[in-house]
Amino acid sequence: MSETALDRASRALDLIPFIVENPGISIEDLATVFGSTPKEITKDLNLLFVCGLPGYSPLELIDLSFDDGYVSVIDAQTLDKPRKLSRREVFAVILGLEGMTSLRAQGDPLRAEIEELRSKLATLISGVNIKIASLKVGTTPTPFLSHIETSLRERTLLDITYLSGHRDTETQRTIRPNFLYVENGFIYLRAFCLTSHGERTFRVDRIIELESKGQASALDFEKALPIKSEVFPTIEIGERSRGFLEENRHLLEIPDDFSYPLATTIAVSDREWLLRTCLGQRGGVSILAPADLATELAQRRAETLALYG
């Protein structure tokens, strides 16, 4: 990576106030925080060492101490305060808060708090037209999000009623939440399901009832059943299903210069998900292997077609 003089100046300007607030920080840690190497950071510090106010006598230079790889600022000259946020950084903050808001249901106390903070900041940040970008993370926010977060913090169990899209069933389960994540605009909860004795993924907006069950005991932490090593299905994606490819990139093997139709494996073990997805893609995605899965898809297509007489 080639770094310009400007990139280095920018990092150097940010190093000083950071060290002022974290005196005695190690060069290793600085490198981690600044996404750089200890060697580069040392070079930056050596450079800062010879910078200062006109006159450039020892009293006018930036003064740092680095003892055995630990750094403190003795005299920052005029650079002790962090710089104002750049326009791009302002976008990251404001849009980020907007994104957090869009994930939370009306009435969630944190939602109101985030909205208030966003408008407070927006008035502070003059000169940046924040209107030019917007963000909506996803789906209908769910009222249960804050309950799940509480359960994650306090390590409690939850009783949930869940609509499984894959199996088209409604089930009652007791789960121990592990972590939340966002994908394609949906919030998912990865949890250990005590009812089915395994790690499961739940789409949070499909949890239709939820109740906290109190503290989890050691017994509840039994190990998930090992996932069988398996051969993933091979599919073919046609051009009209490019949206499918974009949304499932992380599951597919996509060469840099591919063209449609693309044959690839898909890293899913849930047959039901794949079959239903293929049905919905209306021929845009077909299953090449294994053969029994391809047959099953053909059969479901035929059954669906039979509805229409």
Partner: protein, 311 residues
Amino acid sequence: MSDQKTERLLNLTIALLATQRYLTKSEIFQSVAGYSGEIDTMERMFERDKDDLRSLGIEIEVRAVDVLFEDQMGYRIRPSDYALDLGPITPRELALISVALQGWRTSALSQSSQTALRKLRSLGIDTDTDQFAMEWLRFENEQPSFDLLWDALEKRQVVEFGYANSSSPIRHVQPYGLTLLHGFWYLIGFDLDRQEIRTFKIARVITPFTLLKKERSYEIPEDFSPAKYLEADATSEFNRAVVHIRKNHCLTLRLEGEVKSVDDDWDEITLRYQHEDPFLRKVLWFGSDAKIISPADLVHKVKNSLQGNAL
């Protein structure tokens, strides 16, 4: 070479920040370390340095230092323009901002969020982001970065790019806004070839963006906002489809409307939709447990595709 320039930029910043009055160019050339050579060379250096610092967001104030000699300009950086000031901010608010920034861990804004986080951590306010249990936040799916497009938008430059799945592959667009929706970034802008506002999914741009040179080449309509534009689009026209669903099946579909019983095996639901493709995906997901009754052209499409005909 690069070290010298970095050093000069730092010295210039320190000097302009420290000064109480406006420094003239000749004062700068005499006193700030790093300026040497012919006067023309130093002038060029200084002009570039000023532009560089401004590109970092550092505001340099310029003013005539003597009312009688208007061409004698002076320069300074006001400490209040330079330093980050978020007003009276609580540790909890700062923690929320940090969480928001961590949501950008993948592409487009990740670099900026890292630098912003470092600045916030230099404010000397202790924050505890764990209190929110929100380390899961991630706004974007993985997708190509598009820093250039931000530049184009901010500098009002026309962009040229190739777009997948279109009859006229090269597009010329005046960017009006960027929006992130369900994990994907979209560009909204005025399509110069079609003479109307259009939305482009950035993941479908097949050639690198090229920026046409001219800056400030267009204006974004005063009242334009991408959020409102998409909202208007989202509430424009809804279509309605009548679907029969098998009893005790299609559970997630049932959340979307009122369900009436048809006979012992089937219920009926009326669903709203905007675009056919996602709607058909949703209904066909349920295979032989859902049957579209109307409109007729949707029924026709489903039959055709199930028979294996191209659409």
